[in-house]
């Protein structure tokens, strides 16, 4: 953007008033903040001895999962929109023709490099079939880099683990959302 762009508004710095120049009022203001935090309840937890509480799991951005459809198959249609949206380039998909008559395309392999991921949630945002979701699982540890590249099976198993505690976000709000069968199903 150029400095002459009409969207840019140029402001003059306001001159310091008497209170600012005296320094003491601002000093007291700062000290008040410090004192308030001294006496307010602690928010720090001793992870991993104490587990932090996840406020709203619907908007928490933890480990990814790949959802299953009502027949237990991967819901993903391998459209690559998550991989396209991903700013960290951590999603790798190999698409192929699906073996099922009601679906056209599915991921032969689907892997996410969890070490590369920045947990921005763009993949979830981009997914047209709500197949990829970020869960509230926050323990993400491994002994090697290879172990941290989650493949399709592992991502599906995350769904199996979390599906009871965190039902699919698209459940009950499927108006306007396409289902995998809508996207290229063969009658």
């Amino acid at each position: 953007m150029k400095s002459t762009d009409p969207c840019v508004t140029w402001l003059e710095e306001t001159p310091l008033g008497l209170a600012e120049r005296l320094y003491l009022p601002l000093f007291i203001q700062g000290l008040t903040t410090t004192a308030r935090h001294l006496i307010s309840p602690k928010v720090t937890v001793s992870y991993p001895e104490t587990r932090p509480t996840v406020g709203n799991p619907l908007i928490y951005r933890g480990v990814h999962r790949l959802n299953r459809d009502d027949q237990g198959r991967v819901k993903c249609v391998a459209c690559f929109l998550c991989a396209t949206a991903c700013p960290a380039h951590c999603i790798d998909i190999v698409a192929t023709e699906s073996p099922w008559p009601d679906r056209e395309k599915y991921p032969e392999s689907f892997s996410i490099d969890e070490l590369r991921c920045i947990f921005c949630g763009m993949c979830e945002e981009a997914c047209p079939v709500d197949a990829i979701e970020l869960t509230s699982l926050l323990d993400l540890t491994g002994k090697s880099r290879e172990e941290m590249i989650f493949d399709k099976e592992k991502l599906l198993s995350v769904y199996d683990i979390t599906k009871d505690a965190e039902p699919m976000k698209s459940k009950g709000m499927d108006t306007g959302h396409a289902s995998p069968a809508d996207l290229g199903g063969r009658p």
């Binding site: 929109l81 396209t84 023709e97 199903g185």
Partner: protein, 539 residues
């Protein structure tokens, strides 16, 4: 000189030019959206997307009389005094209605459609369509129908522009495709037992403005927005079609024809289109190898060592014979000849093996597939004859070796298919030093003292001269696999030149050194130059 007014702008067209309103508007920088019209096919004016307002200007009074109705731009010839209005409210309204009608029974399955990203239906909808859909949303399915060995049809994505039907009738001349049913039930189909199976069938996929026709070879391999495009030339036969190599991360995904009125128009054949798979074949030679003594096993050798030791080895071996492969570019051939002459000033230079298969095949649309399966025989002949007169062929070279007049040979090949049998290869068995540069192992490569890997067509940069004497320059599309130096890089280094291999510098040098190739000087147009025409003009 005829003057046509496009949106208030006067465009002059030649007196003999026969242009329609779409073409004239394009010259004025205005793109009239269209589905069914294609410059290489007949006009049907069925999609109604190019509807525009036209009128005529009275030459005497200058008064413009507009037509009361919209007319299809593709079907309306532009002549002196024609006035075209492309952006009026009436035209915009009409385009939005056409888009809406097309989308009513289109399965909006863009996420899994291979065309998404290069689809005219998507582009025009964003540009000319309306934001809201007034029809009820139904769950749509795209039925899939096999129409041929290379092409699959997603029936419900089709917008019935019939480009593919016209292509099969007018260009390939095979007429496999047809429209079945009537009205809203119209579908593209083939007659049972007569699939879309001709040498040009892949073109219907390029022609399809939407995702209805899919290429089985490319289906679901990659989303098109990940692909990078490089203007290239097909190395499949002597026609030398202008193509675009579409690749990602040094892997080719598909080849597409690039418009070139002098060579391939808008088309390419299936042999060329699917003829890139050998580039990623696991059996390719991927390392330079050298055998120090006869009978011993070959050892892998680093390329910088090849540059120095190959020269010494050939110098020590005595008289040299070189086969300059017609797969090499002009620049590579020229450098190879120069290297050979610097090693042995009397080196015997010959054009390498010229593979042929069957006979030339011509199609009604004016497209020819050549029997000569190499892209640069004429170019290599021109270069070799600069160094060695008279011109020797591959058979002359074989005779030369059989007669025992040489003790070392350097054979460049780079053919994607097996090209030499054991009996022919045995001719070279008794040489002191045999250098073979090829894509794959062969009976000849087995005998080699130096077995060097060659580059594939998309890994080269340079100039090829096709059967019509048209020279086309191109850049490298993908990098050669690890362990492979393209020939140009090896020859460049063997000539002792510094820095990276620069084909343009070599081309300028060739143009300066020869009157027959002088047309290669300067910037090369994207469609290439005709060497014969340039020579005639020069004379």
């Amino acid at each position: 000189m005829a003057v046509v007014t496009v949106d208030g702008k006067d465009i002059e067209i030649g007196a003999t030019e026969r242009l329609n309103c779409i073409e004239v508007a394009r010259r004025a920088g205005v793109e009239i959206p269209h589905y069914c019209w294609h410059p290489g096919l007949s006009v049907v004016a069925s999609c109604r997307m190019c509807l525009i307002e036209t009128g005529t200007r009275d030459p005497a009074t200058g008064k413009v009389t507009m037509m009361p109705k919209l007319v299809p731009g593709c079907q309306t010839p532009a002549k002196d005094g024609t006035v075209i209005v492309t952006e009026s409210a009436l035209v915009k309204e009409s385009r939005a209605r056409v888009e809406e009608a097309l989308l009513i029974d289109h399965p909006i399955d863009c996420p899994i459609c291979d065309k998404a990203g290069e689809c005219l239906l998507q582009d025009y909808h964003f540009e000319h369509g309306q934001a809201e859909r007034r029809a009820d949303i139904h769950a749509f399915h795209s039925r899939r129908r096999d129409v041929g060995p290379t092409v699959t049809l997603f029936v419900d994505r089709c917008i019935m522009c019939t480009r593919c039907v016209r292509f099969a009738r007018e260009v390939s001349g095979t007429s496999e495709l047809m429209v079945i049913n009537r009205g809203a039930k119209e579908e593209i189909d083939v007659f049972p037992g007569f699939p879309l199976d001709n040498k040009l069938s892949g073109n219907v996929v390029d022609l399809c403005p939407v995702g209805a026709l899919g290429d089985k070879d490319f289906l679901y391999q990659q989303r098109v927005w990940f692909l990078k495009r490089e203007a290239n030339v097909c190395g499949g036969c002597a026609t030398g079609c202008s193509i675009t190599t579409e690749h990602n991360q040094d892997s080719v995904y598909r080849l597409k024809p690039r418009e070139n009125p002098h060579v391939n128009k808008w088309w390419m054949c299936d042999d060329g289109r699917y003829g890139w798979h050998h580039l990623h074949d696991s059996s390719r030679l991927l390392a330079a190898e050298h055998r120090s003594a006869a009978g011993s096993t070959r050892q892998t050798i680093e390329w910088p060592d090849v540059v120095t030791r190959l020269r010494d080895d050939l110098k020590g071996a005595g008289s040299l014979a070189v086969a300059v492969s017609p797969m090499l570019t002009l620049e590579e051939a020229w450098m190879l000849c120069a290297v050979a002459r610097s090693i042995d000033p009397q080196a015997f230079l010959a054009v390498g093996h010229v593979p042929t298969r069957g006979a030339d095949e011509s199609f009604p649309g004016g497209f020819t597939i050549r029997a000569e399966k190499c892209p640069n025989r004429l170019g290599v002949e021109a270069v070799v004859s600069l160094f060695d007169q008279p011109l020797h062929s591959w058979n002359d070279l074989l005779e030369h070796v059989r007669a025992g007049r040489t003790t070392a040979a350097w054979i460049t090949a780079g053919h994607p298919e097996p090209w030499i049998d054991a009996a022919t290869a045995a001719t070279f068995a008794d040489l002191k030093c045999l250098v073979v540069q090829d894509l794959f192992d062969s009976p000849l490569a087995q005998l080699a003292t130096w077995r060097l890997p060659a580059a594939g067509f998309a890994e080269r940069a340079g100039t090829w001269v096709n059967a019509g004497h048209r020279a086309q320059s191109f850049e490298q599309a993908i990098r050669a696999p690890a362990g492979v130096w393209p020939e140009g890089r090896l020859f460049w280094n063997m000539l002792g030149r510094r820095g990276l291999y620069d084909p343009v510098a070599v081309r300028q040098q060739i143009a300066e050194s020869s009157a027959t190739l002088a047309a290669l000087a300067g910037e090369m147009p994207a469609t290439g130059v005709d060497l014969r025409l340039q020579q005639l003009a020069g004379a």
